[in-house]
């Protein structure tokens, strides 16, 4: 395995970087869109339910089929892969975000409103910080799912670790498959570590540096 790495490290690194690029871009876009969607739908149970239904239906389309459907619209390559991955993530993220926000104790929100906090203050200072943990949990799932599904992107020429895996499959090269797998797993671990660090920083800012018991 080491031998393979020494020989082909340029190829592996390139695939890994491509993968990071696709995943990173996907996550940033997904989170921004999901946050915006959540903010729009969070106050209406009916609309939330409808939006989640739609996301659910899209999520149930096999990724290969969704890639295929989009090729005529956005062509082959990483762009299409990112679009598909963003669309998939909406189900995971919007659901996680709305659930997180709705789980916040009604009495706490009532007290906040009664004290004269504006809607935005209630959201930013009370509801969001209290929902943060469950929102982060859904981002973690999105990271894992994105890194996994992104490998399928190789079938439409998006590159990334998928190309190593599919090469390995075609040529029945176990070492290649193993490297693709190991790098995927590493990527998940590193991404989670970065996320946890970010959450720690956010929590410190929100709670004035003190850890909540």
């Amino acid at each position: 395995m080491i031998e393979y790495f020494i020989k082909y490290h340029a190829k592996l690194t390139k695939a890994l970087l491509e993968h990071i690029q696709i995943v990173g871009l996907t996550l940033v876009i997904s989170i921004v869109i999901a946050m915006a969607v959540t903010l729009v739908i969070k106050d209406s149970k009916r609309i939330s339910k409808a939006v989640l239904q739609v996301c659910n239906v899209i999520y149930s389309i096999p990724s290969l089929a969704l890639f295929a459907i989009l090729i005529p619209l956005s062509g082959l390559g990483a762009k299409t892969a990112v679009i598909v991955l963003v669309v998939y993530n909406q189900y995971i993220l919007v659901r996680g975000f709305t659930e997180g926000l709705s789980m916040v104790d009604r009495a706490v929100l009532e007290a906040a409103a009664g004290m004269g906090m504006s809607r935005w203050q209630i959201f930013a200072r009370v509801q969001f910080p209290l929902a943060l943990d469950s929102m982060v949990a859904s981002i973690q799932i999105a990271i894992i799912s994105t890194i996994g599904i992104a490998t399928i992107g190789a079938t439409i020429g998006a590159g990334g670790l998928g190309s190593i895996l599919f090469d390995g499959m075609r040529t029945q090269n176990t070492v290649k498959i193993l490297w693709g797998t190991v790098l995927s797993v590493l990527l998940v671990l590193v991404a989670n570590a970065i996320l946890n660090y970010a959450v720690k920083k956010i929590n410190e800012r929100l709670h004035g540096g003190k850890k909540r018991p």
Binding site: E110, A111, A112, M115, G116, V126, L130, G208, K210, R212
Partner: protein, 262 residues
């Protein structure tokens, strides 16, 4: 004395409701009163209270707070001038006691020194040692302590009017008595106006300078505790007071019976 709260033919009917939650209610409360609003659940007492700080908007009539019609005040602005305490307390679990209490002063842009001094002053007022409690989280407090913080938080920006919705309803009887005494004390010192919703007859009579008895959305009687006990306005109030007296008499009789047999 000027008027703190005035209701003029106020009604509230919720969507899809068959009858009014509050029906054509008129009254006025003078500054410095501690008015208890007594009634069974569903009588409209909480709805009435929540209309004062515009958490609920009336369907008809007008409400004045310190002689100003609240429909012309921005609700968020109005609420910052009114303290609000609820039974479920609703402390912010992610904030320390200090930050909980400082919520409204912070919104109002007080300086840090002024806020810190105010937090300590309030903790003393509700009988919690500032050094010990300032940096605790709500989860590290007992129910009674939590509601003390709830009270301190509501008092933080020194509002002239306080609304309390069964604040001691979930607190054990012994602590409730202590908190009631503290509330009377705070009221007497501050001369703020208090509106206090409760379903506990003893609590209503003990705390209220005047007691508003409500049933099915309307006011049955609004008078001093002794007047309500002596001269109940109608059968409903009379029954309520009789049941209260009987409960007391029964407890006394048992307590003093020979050998306290049961």
């Amino acid at each position: 004395m000027s008027t703190a709260v005035e209701f003029i033919h106020v009604s509230k009917r919720f969507e899809d409701a068959a009858s009014d939650a509050v029906e054509d209610v008129s009254f006025s409360i003078e500054e410095g009163e501690l008015v208890t609003i007594l009634g069974t659940s569903g009588c409209g007492k909480t709805t009435l209270l929540r209309m004062v700080n515009s958490l609920i908007r009336p369907s008809a009539g007008s409400i004045k707070v310190f002689d100003k019609d609240i429909s012309s005040t921005y609700p968020v602005e109005l609420r910052r001038q009114i303290g609000y305490v609820i039974q479920q307390i609703g402390l912010f679990p992610h904030m320390t006691v200090r930050h909980n209490i400082a919520t409204v002063p912070k919104i109002l842009g007080w300086s840090k020194d002024k806020i810190d001094a105010r937090v300590d002053e309030l903790l003393e007022m509700v009988n919690l040692a500032p050094d010990e409690f300032r940096d605790r989280y709500p989860s590290q407090l007992s129910g009674g302590q939590q509601q003390r913080i709830g009270l301190a938080r509501a008092l933080a920006a020194d509002p002239k009017l306080m609304l309390l919705d069964e604040p001691f309803g979930a607190i054990d009887a012994i602590n409730r008595t202590v908190l009631q005494d503290e509330l009377i004390n705070i009221h007497q010192k501050s001369r703020k106006t208090f509106l206090f919703v409760t379903h506990d007859i003893l609590e209503a009579l003990k705390l209220g300078t005047r007691v508003m008895v409500m049933d099915k959305g309307s006011i049955r009687q609004f008078d001093t505790p002794s007047e309500i006990l002596k001269n109940p306005a109608d059968d409903y109030v009379k029954q309520l007071m009789d049941s209260f007296r009987q409960g007391f008499a029964f407890a006394l009789e048992r307590g003093m019976g020979p050998g306290e047999q049961r």
